[in-house]
Point group: C2
Chain length 195, copies 2
DNA sequence: GTCTATAGCCTGATAGAC
DNA sequence: GTCTATCAGGCTATAGAC
């Protein structure tokens, strides 16, 4: 998310909706409020998006695109020498990027709640999780082949890394005071070095 | 949750609301639908609860009461001989209990979304997380004093355990196929044995 | 592309009888 | 404790003018 500067009405709608949805929830953010906040009328809004759900869907697509595994980890850059350190640093960069967008977790929780009721969202959420576990799995196997990661149940380890990344984000959004860097580093080291 | 058999109207309201809220969300579950599902009228519902929010609040209190650390872990039962194994088993029992209530995670995600907008819910959610980290922290320090847990940053380790429990629950609700038992056991062992 | 006006529905909540 | 009837207000979405 975070489109640079608002130029078109279309972009203004997406940015404003993103913020209002995060702040007040999908249900409590009416089309009228979104329109008023931008300074246009409700029908003008409907000119750009055929329904409220359409806005929600477009936003979800954009969010999903911005949080792929490949955006944060480049397997080819991992070598025998930098493996553990780079995995720690790249992981922290995810955490960092989520700190910078205060609305991300708030709105994501809502898509998760939607997912339980609507397969359309559920599917993408699972794809996203799957992308991370698959990515970590490849990365770890690469590490094994480099002989810098101890061989073991790399799939379970990949799932564990995904879970911790997800959990850290979750905790952070609550302003829960944790040594997040330490937790991530500890997890990575434990997995790389193999218990 | 899960009151045995429904005897009073009051209990019927709570049980039905719990299920409908989990299935369709707070906003999309109207007082009329709840009343209809039970077989009473809307005003009858308002006789027992002064507002929709009152139902949501009572449900949240009950849920919070049922997921305290002490309900799953009894520090005094942990000895030098059974420590690691018992920590694994007790952790799995949480995961197990959440499998048995298919609605738990669904409704919990909604309270989390509410928490971002309403300090009333936020506070209890944080208290709950805090209860687990504090509990694990005590447990780990107990383990250290028993010389069965390697000394280290027990607070960070306690937060890590909380995060994994939370994350496992999260993943499970999506029907994500994981070796949850393996992930939990791996985490516990890594922490108990110290890296 | 944007507007005013409004249709049509659903909502939370209540008045008042039994 | 439970009912029928009802209200006031908010909602999504659209018709039709500019």
């Amino acid at each position: 998310m975070k489109t640079s500067t608002t130029s078109t009405t279309y972009e203004a709608i997406l940015e404003t909706a993103y913020r209002l949805f995060a702040e007040h929830g999908f249900d409590k953010t009416s089309m009228a409020i979104i329109a008023k906040e931008i300074g246009i009328s409700k029908p003008a809004l409907y000119y750009h998006f055929k329904s409220k759900e359409a806005i929600i869907d477009v936003l979800f697509d954009e969010i999903c695109k911005s949080i792929t595994f490949a955006n944060f980890f480049s397997i080819e850059q991992y070598s025998k020498d930098n493996f553990e350190e780079k995995l720690i640093v790249d992981g922290l960069s995810i955490i960092q990027s989520q700190t910078e967008d205060e609305y991300y977790s708030r709105i994501m929780h809502q898509y998760q709640a939607l997912g339980y009721r609507n397969p359309k969202y559920m599917q993408k959420l699972i794809e996203s999780l799957d992308g991370f576990t698959t990515g970590f799995h490849e990365l770890l196997r690469h590490g094994v082949s480099l002989r810098v990661v101890k061989d073991g149940d790399t799939l379970a380890h990949a799932q564990m890394l995904t879970m911790i990344i997800d959990g850290i984000d979750n905790f952070m959004t609550y302003g829960f005071q944790c040594r997040y860097d330490k937790i991530w580093a500890k997890t990575v080291k434990s997995i790389v070095r193999g218990e």
